[in-house]
């Protein structure tokens, strides 16, 4: 055996040229280096949860209720237990004593919110189609699925509760023990609302509908639990956005001590909020692994996912806006009914409450009243879906601004100009108590109008109208803002959310000068590995390739608040910056010692400490790393580490904004709508990676446009989900979407050192009203004034027919809304 000489190793590393040298670091923030994630993703070497194989792995399959609402009068799994390859089968009653608590809701928005117990397996009552009633464990997924057929369940049907207003009559209770279907009432009021509306020259009142949506991330949910049952220790692999939150919650649901649980989010194939939850199957798989002492895998089928993974949206919005005749908005009233579904999932009640702060949008006025009633129904629980409350709010305000413009005979963009916050007014305190950090609505709008050729399209529209073309043109606007970077912990506390909004990062300097960045923000497509490498490489002055980003495993990244609400960069990215600052300060002390200089005389640039005035005396931070590893010659009393942790809690949200313009062509004979041109100019502050930002905008647009034109979770009166596959639920394909024209303005955020704002949800929030405003604009001459979503060919066609039948003024009735035209002011509008 040859003798290992540490000094030799140190010399070898030093001579290898790995430790950096001055003047070679080109700034990466603002560039688009190729994504580090892609190597495994484009070659099929990904580690999705369903890919995981463990010796002795068993497969679970879940039997689900075919009824929306029913009592289970008998359930028998004994025949299933006799099927070949079946290891075990359990009913809700069998597992009931294993639950230390129900599935959690972390956001009790009011002290008296109704919070029914939500057990992972239903015991005596099922409350939506898809509610889990039994689970089978077998040697492979086929045997498990087969055995479900042998389970005998008898149900006594109860009435379904589908309609939100009918639900509030409490004729049928979703949860009998709660005595009401009203989960909560959450009010907010600022300014002299009644006086403002009494004095208003014009009031427009509308009812808008937010249909239920299904997030449909391409990777179905999956969970694998590997136990060391004898030690009561478990590793939970889950296709989740929130390994850290999941760990805490699974400890509470199962009673297994938190320190005995390790949660890993391997490669995760999209989430959009649907994997921001604590699901029955995750808790079940954990308990099955505990009971059986064997590793367990459960993978959702897509049809199962449509029923058993949370839905999004689901609101009825009664909105009233008050204004002067010359187009100055004076007040806003919003009353929501929010569909909770059958149970409150992790943040179900908080979604419309987040939205409460965004209804005023980018506009200045002094009176605002908001109320939201959460309603239980016998449908799949709702929760956060991309935007979570903010798309709903933006839709309402941007739709009613267009309706107000129509009422006033004013161009919708001119109306917006008269009311928006001007760029010199930032920071701006809104009627809701938020402080918008920065923005330039004028610049974004001017740029968008130029790219769109707004005037040219208006001319073309006029020509088509004059000619009476079969295919009409409509132009729609959306000038939005949103709150990103969830969230200042004390604000979350004031809103009764159960946790903080900080994020953690650690930087580990390796002996060879390489760098590990550990982040608590768990990505599932956002490109953290690339973007965090850019940030750390710039901060430390090391090569991009030398940085490795670790995430998604509570044993590797023990502290985190995970990924949702466009928070990763604005909170998690800043934690990386702060950790890097700490590393540099520690390294400075070592460098000063090695260079025999005073710390105060050292400059740090390009990854190199140099003595001011004698630049030849220098040490790269990577050289310092090696010196610290060897620890032969450190300052007296210094521990041999320059690693650093940081936990960043933002002082404020950030407020991206943008102007989206959509032109649609509507075939007035078939009702078919095609997007003719889509231009968006987003302002997301400074940008770390423009290619990733653009990708986020594209994907966001696709989902927002999908809400406007294609997607809807449809329930029949019996509570059956009739859009339960990709055949019926129209996630758009490539031919259904246009090529988008995107651009940016840059108003750096003033709330964080990178000046970044967040971009994950912007496209979704902004685009839906732009599209619907355009559809209505196209059909305005035909008398159509409103349009339920999605604006399918059938809906559009029917709206046109109804408008025709009633002499060109009944678009509302045609689309099933009950909109009232405003007549409230003393000078009632014509």
């Amino acid at each position: 055996m040859s003798k290992i000489d540490p000094e030799e190793i140190v010399e070898e590393i030093e001579e290898s040229g790995q430790l950096g040298h001055p003047d070679h670091h080109v700034p990466l923030v603002g560039q688009a280096p190729r994504r580090k994630e892609d190597a495994r993703l484009v070659t099929g070497q990904t580690n999705w949860t369903d890919n995981i194989q463990i010796p002795g792995l068993l497969h679970a399959a879940v039997l689900r209720s075919p009824m929306a609402h029913a009592r289970i009068t008998s359930i028998d799994v004994s025949a299933a237990r006799e099927q070949p390859g079946v290891i075990a089968a359990f009913t809700g009653a069998d597992l009931q004593h294993h639950w230390a608590g129900g599935l959690p809701c972390a956001w009790p928005v009011t002290p008296d919110m109704k919070q029914p117990v939500h057990l992972p397996l239903a015991v005596d009552t099922v409350r939506y189609v898809g509610d889990a009633v039994a689970v089978v464990v077998a040697r492979d997924r086929y045997a498990a699925a087969d055995a479900l057929e042998s389970i005998d369940v008898e149900y006594e049907p109860l009435p379904a509760v589908i309609d939100l207003e009918e639900a509030l009559t409490d004729a049928t209770l979703v949860h009998e023990d709660q005595g009401t279907n009203r989960a909560f009432d959450w009010p907010f009021e600022a300014g002299e609302v009644d006086a403002t509306f009494d004095a208003a020259e014009v009031v427009v009142k509308r009812r808008y509908f937010q249909q239920r949506l299904i997030p449909a991330a391409m990777e179905p949910r999956a969970v694998v639990v590997a136990p060391i049952a004898a030690a009561d220790e478990y590793t939970v692999y889950s296709a989740t956005q929130i390994p850290h939150i999941l760990r805490v919650m699974l400890a509470l649901v199962t009673g297994i001590p938190e320190q005995k649980l390790r949660v890993v989010a391997p490669d995760v194939g999209g989430g959009f909020g649907s994997k921001l939850n604590v699901y029955a199957e995750e808790a079940m798989a954990l308990i099955l692994a505990k009971v059986l002492g064997r590793p367990i895998k459960w993978t959702e089928s897509r049809s199962e996912g449509f029923q058993a993974t949370i839905h999004g949206r689901g609101q009825i919005q009664d909105v009233e806006i008050a204004a002067t005749r010359d187009g100055r908005v004076t007040g806003l009233k919003v009353q929501l009914l929010a569909d909770m579904g059958a149970y409150l999932q992790l943040v179900t009640p908080g979604v419309p409450i987040l939205g409460a702060f965004m209804f005023p949008g980018i506009y200045k006025f002094d009176a605002y009243r908001f109320g939201c009633t959460g309603v239980f129904t016998t449908m799949t629980p709702t929760d956060a879906y991309r935007g979570a409350g903010r798309p709903e709010a933006t839709f309402a305000i941007e739709r009613i601004m267009d309706d107000l413009a129509t009422e006033l005979g004013m161009d919708p963009i001119e109306l917006r100009r008269r009311n928006w916050i001007e760029h010199h007014e930032f920071p701006f305190d809104t009627i809701c108590g938020l402080t918008y950090d920065s923005g330039n609505y004028e610049a974004a709008t001017d740029r968008a109008l130029e790219l769109f050729d707004y005037d040219g399209l208006r001319r073309e529209q006029a020509e088509r109208r004059e000619r009476g073309d079969r295919v009409q043109l409509g132009l729609g606007t959306s000038t939005f803002t949103e709150m990103c970077g969830l969230a200042p912990s004390r604000v979350l506390g004031s809103l009764s959310y159960g946790a903080g909004g900080w994020e953690a990062a650690s930087i580990r300097m390796l002996p060879t000068g390489k760098v590990e960045v550990v982040t608590g923000s768990t990505p599932h497509g956002q490109g953290h590995e690339t973007a965090w490498s850019q940030i750390a490489a710039d901060a430390l002055g090391v090569p991009f390739e030398d940085v490795e980003v670790l995430h998604g495993d509570t044993a590797v990244a023990p502290k985190g608040m995970d990924t949702y609400g466009s928070r990763s960069l604005t909170v998690g990215g800043i934690a990386v910056v702060k950790a890097a600052e700490k590393v540099i300060e520690k390294a400075r002390r070592v460098a000063a010692h090695l260079l025999e200089a005073d710390e105060r005389d050292l400059d740090f640039a390009q990854g190199t400490f140099s003595v001011r005035g004698s630049p030849e005396a220098s040490k790269t931070i990577q050289e310092v790393s090696l010196a610290v590893f060897a620890a032969h010659d450190l300052p007296d009393g210094m521990e041999p580490s320059i690693d650093a942790d940081s936990v960043f809690d933002p002082e404020n949200f950030s407020f991206p904004h943008g102007t989206h313009l959509c032109a649609v062509e509507v075939d007035t004979e078939t009702g078919f709508t095609r997007i003719h041109r889509y231009v968006c100019v987003d302002d997301v502050g400074n940008v770390v990676n423009p290619q990733i930002v653009e990708g986020q905008v594209h994907g966001g647009l696709a989902q927002g446009i999908a809400q406007a034109l294609y997607e809807e979770a449809v329930y029949d009166p019996e509570g059956n989900l009739t859009s339960g596959t990709f055949v019926d639920y129209l996630v758009p394909g490539a031919p259904d979407l246009p090529a988008f024209v995107t651009d940016r303005t840059v108003s750096p955020s003033t709330t964080n050192p990178l000046g970044v704002k967040g971009v994950g949800e912007a496209g979704t929030i902004a685009s839906t009203p732009a599209v619907i405003n355009a559809v209505i604009d196209a059909l305005k001459p035909l008398g159509v004034t409103d349009m339920r979503m999605p604006a399918s060919p059938e809906r559009v066609w029917r709206a046109i027919q109804e408008a025709n039948a009633s002499g060109g003024s009944a678009g509302q009735a045609a689309t099933g809304t009950t909109t009232l035209t405003a007549q409230a002011g003393p000078e009632a509008s014509a």
Binding site: D38, G44, Q53, M218, E219, G270, T725, F726, G733, A734
Partner: protein
Amino acid sequence: MPDIDVRINGIRYQDHVEPRLLLVHYLRDRLGLTGTNVGCDTSNCGACTVLVDGTGAKSCTMLAVQADGTEITTIQGLAGGEGAGAPEDWHPLQKAFNAEHGLQCGYCTPGMIMSSVDLLQRNPDPTEDEIRHGLEGNLCRCTGYQNIVKAVQAAAGELRAAGAPGAVVGGQS
């Protein structure tokens, strides 16, 4: 149980399979070729697309027994042989998806790339519209498709310049 004899990514396999075993489960669960993903159970999403005798096929819609006697290429064999090799050895479509940011979460990507291989074999110089329609059997929830279209266009150019559109896969075209 029937026997099948199939060549996958250049390697020959002989196996007993249940008649009902889906090809995608044969690939994933029996052979451990987990590069091919399952995204739905109704043949809509295309995440499981592979090449069977050079032609794109949704492997969730084929039985393993139907693959008997065929030659199959999955995403894991696209760069030639098992394993992926270094980026410089990737198929032009793999390179282009990376360069043009044609993926985010990457779950649809194996199917999207394999469908694109099929598309470019049939149409080496597609218009944007032809690409969009050519990929209508593959759903992506992340990208809005714009950068996927760009990636396919870029790869098509690359393949045409190399003078061998489609001829790189499994000896078929």
